[in-house]
């Protein structure tokens, strides 16, 4: 994603108007969040949903590859993977060679793939399409996200939904409530300024105005977060799970690698933090040019981060209550453009992973013989997918929070 960075996405999202954010986002530090945890109750507080947003529009056709379809090879000869390189899932579809970890989870029946997910009359603007997914409102722009509305409806406290982003995504903004924004960027201070000075600046003063006190607290939080992130990264290095290269240039200013974000989620889950929904992200999927190399690097990061997270979560009772859902605002054009990349497209696959997940294919792979103006036709409305996790993971009534949700939930997270 070059011109339109991930951060701008978040800022551009329709968090507006009378929504809860007008009153002020809750910005809390991870230390404060962890303090709310109680290991004794870890795992007994209900299931947890981790939403992984791939910003920029992931190329679904080169993620879950219809390798056996001659049309795949003839329509995008510059970008198509040869059959023998693809990690076969069945006799039609396979995973990108950079996703060996996900292939293993598939074999262990812990990965569900929902094929061909989109919405009617696709919008090809990043800005608008991401809004549509996060607000779950394809027709009318609205100011609340579906998780935000769930916070409203359950009268939840902000830490029930947490984002490890510098700015709260609209996903977590409700009408009267909003999720919490936990910053995890590494600490860099201007030359000559040290952590001790910042810590002193953060000391509250008796009698100072509330906003001034909050400004002071933000410095204390900055240091606490830094300390915890360092601990988490250090622990991960010791476990030999580190080594992920930095996210490629997304100009996100303070955002951090997906594996770091997921390590923090893991820590929070294991610590019995009451959070039910986590929002994490990986940016850079806007592969308009020289796609193969960039896309493979991102998929490699995604594979490593998701796999180690799901493995770690499998080791505790609390972790086994966690379901991960991976989505992007749209897929990409079937045919490559003149720059060995792809332009904005439509439907794509959604991944659902975790101990509770019933692995396998859901939905229906869009046909390459039946395109709409060169784009895939979606077979599954994304609201059915989000509705399913509301129903199966959050035990909420999907119709209450997603306008246009219809019928039965899908079966990728069996109840009970």
């Amino acid at each position: 994603m070059d011109a339109l960075t991930r951060r701008r996405f978040l800022l551009a999202s329709g968090v507006a108007g009378a929504g809860a954010l007008m009153a002020g986002t809750t910005a809390i530090g991870i230390a404060e969040l962890l303090r709310k945890g109680d290991r004794a109750v870890a795992g007994s507080q209900g299931q947890v949903l981790v939403l992984v947003t791939l910003y920029g529009g992931n190329d679904g056709l080169n993620t879950v590859i219809p390798y056996a379809d001659p049309a795949y090879h003839s329509l995008r000869p510059e970008l198509a993977y040869p059959q023998e390189k693809v990690l076969h899932l069945d006799d039609a579809l396979g995973l990108n060679p950079k996703l060996p970890g996900l292939k293993r989870l598939w074999d262990e029946k812990r990965l569900a793939i929902v094929s061909g997910v989109g919405y009617p009359r696709p919008d090809l603007s990043h800005f608008r399409s991401m809004d549509i997914w996060q607000t779950a409102s394809p027709l009318t722009p609205i100011h609340t996200g579906w998780v935000g509305r769930w916070l409203d409806g359950t009268r939840a406290s902000p830490e029930m939904a947490v984002s490890f982003e510098p700015v709260l995504p609209v996903l977590l903004a409700g009408e009267t409530r909003a999720g919490a924004c936990v910053s995890i960027g590494g600490l860099t201070l201007p030359e000559g300024i040290d952590a001790k000075m910042v810590a002193e600046l953060g000391r509250p003063q008796p009698g100072e105005p509330a906003m001034q006190a909050q400004a002071a607290t933000s410095y204390t939080d900055l240091l606490q977060v830094e300390r915890l992130v360092r601990e988490v990264e250090h622990a991960d290095d010791a476990d030999d799970k580190g080594g992920e290269p930095a996210v490629p240039a997304t100009g996100t200013g303070g955002a951090s690698a997906l594996s770091t974000q997921l390590s923090l989620v893991a820590r929070c889950v294991e610590a019995g933090v009451p959070t039910r929904v986590y929002s994490v992200s990986l940016g850079g999927f806007d592969t308009h040019a020289a796609e193969i190399a960039g896309h493979e690097m991102l998929l490699g990061q995604l594979d490593a981060a998701l796999t180690s997270f799901v493995d770690r979560m499998g080791q505790t009772e609390a972790g086994r209550q966690v379901t991960v859902l991976v989505y992007s605002e749209f897929g990409r054009r079937v045919v490559a453009n003149a720059s060995q990349g792809t332009d904005h497209g439509t439907a794509g696959p959604v991944f659902v992973l975790g101990h509770r997940v019933a692995g396998g294919f859901y939905g229906e792979q869009p046909s390459l013989a039946d395109l709409d103006n060169g784009d895939l036709k979606s077979n599954v409305d994304f609201r059915q997918v989000f509705g399913t996790v509301l129903d199966s993971v959050l035990q909420a009534d999907p119709a209450k929070y997603i306008d246009g949700y219809q019928g039965e939930p899908m079966r990728f997270v069996p109840v009970g």
Binding site: V15, G17, M22, T25, L189, P190, V198, M211, A215, L222
Partner: protein, 422 residues
């Protein structure tokens, strides 16, 4: 009326210099208020920041651009967007008419339109000029309802008789003129119909009306029935009693308090002098309730940056490109870049500016400014004087006293909680 001239200057403008504060103290509150809202002297400062001449939008004569043309035209747009952003921030810094400039910034946040979607720097600049030049709120509403940037931002160009789009109609009521709860969903739909038929022209930088796309049938909006069109819809909304009160409340939120609601007497007194924005501000600043909000408003990032530059005698004009990029990126990371509001609801306020992520960006940005300022000697009291901070808490004083390097002193002072709140 409060005597707090420093509060008045901090809220009405982007942050006074020590010299301006000294003059204002001598002049007194009433005189300062008049000088702010009805300046009698010409704006000499602004003459050193002339509005950029952009020429035509690079896409205006490319109806079907090739890939290469698209890349080049987008490159031109990106440079021009940076140019107008830098220009406006520079003008905020050097203008003598601080309160009038701040009011333009207020309106930008009110009619919050983002170049992220509009893409055309020409249309953004046109909208900027329209807000700057509007006689009053009535004039502004009529012009904004057919402003090409706003219309495009809210999908007005897709709003046709055959397939109505309610986006612009809804926001006219919810966010621009009445406030939520003062209309029904039916009114929104009908307003959408009244607004049908406009298209945006990049070449002429205007909206043009296509009668065949307009729904000329009868509509009923807020109890008024007729073949309502854009102008009649705007007039109708302006006549609602909620409109002046809504505008008063929006001003209160930015100029007085984002956490306390506007007291009813203040709101009614401001509504009384609607639609003249300066008269409304005068009433606000003369109200007892305004003085009581001291210490409760968090500076917006643009206020913090522009105020700091003014106090340190810096300006963006003439800075090396690299430094400029660093500063604009810093503002973006703090969450407030002019011409890029996060949504049609405008920028946030209050505690949302005080995240730990922002704390780090602010320290870095203060570092950049302190380097540019190149001061040689400074004490904690002197830095309070320069930054127009009334006094340090014991905490901050202790931190400042502990550092010797004036650059470090400036960074910590600009990052201090005292400096972030007015």
């Amino acid at each position: 009326m409060t005597d707090d001239v420093a509060l008045l200057l901090a809220r009405a403008g982007f942050g006074p210099t020590a010299a301006e504060l000294a003059v204002a103290r001598k002049t007194g509150y009433a005189g300062t208020l008049s000088a702010l809202l009805d300046p009698s002297l010409p704006d000499i400062g602004a003459t050193s920041a002339p509005e950029p001449r952009l020429g035509m939008d690079p896409f205006a004569d490319l109806p079907t651009p090739t890939n290469q043309q698209r890349i080049e035209a987008n490159g031109i747009r990106d440079r021009q967007i940076e140019e107008i952003t830098r220009w406006w921030l520079d003008r905020m810094t050097v203008t003598d008419h601080q309160a009038l400039e701040k009011l333009v910034f207020f309106w930008h946040g009110h009619w919050a339109t983002s170049v992220d979607k509009v893409r055309s720097p020409q249309l953004m600049l046109l909208q900027h000029r329209t807000m700057r030049g509007a006689r009053d709120f009535v004039d502004m509403c009529h012009k904004m309802a057919v402003d090409p940037a706003l219309v495009y931002w809210l999908d007005g160009q897709l709003n046709t008789k055959a397939s109505p789009n309610e986006n612009l109609g809804r926001e006219l009521m919810e966010l621009f003129m009445l406030g939520i709860g003062n209309y029904t969903e039916k009114d929104v739909k009908e307003a959408g119909r009244a607004l049908t038929g406009w298209r945006v022209s990049l070449g002429s930088e205007a909206c043009f009306f296509q009668p065949e796309q307009h729904d000329s049938g009868s509509k009923t909006i807020l109890g008024v029935t007729g073949a309502l069109d854009t102008a009649r819809l705007v007039d109708l909304l302006l006549r609602r009693k909620e409109c002046p009160r809504f505008v008063a409340a929006r001003m209160w939120r930015r100029y007085a308090s984002s956490s306390q609601p506007i007291p009813e007497p203040t709101r009614e007194a401001m509504a009384e002098v609607f639609p003249a924005p300066r008269a409304m501000l005068r009433v606000l600043f003369e109200d007892e309730a305004f003085g009581a909000t001291a210490g409760s408003l968090v500076k917006q990032p643009v206020e913090w940056l522009v105020g700091g530059m003014r106090q340190l005698g810096l300006r963006l004009g003439g800075l090396p490109a690299e430094t400029l990029t660093t500063i604009l990126k810093g503002l973006r990371d703090l969450g407030q870049l002019p011409f890029v509001p996060p949504s049609v609801g405008g920028w946030t306020a209050g505690g949302s500016w005080l995240t730990s992520a922002a704390a780090q960006v602010r320290l870095a940005l203060a570092g950049t400014l302190a380097t540019l300022a190149a001061v040689e000697k400074l004490t904690p009291d002197e830095v309070a004087y320069i930054l127009c901070v009334e006094g340090w808490t014991d905490r901050t004083y202790a931190v400042l006293r502990g550092v010797k390097d004036p650059r470090h002193l400036l960074i910590l002072a600009m990052a201090s909680p005292e400096y972030l709140v007015t």
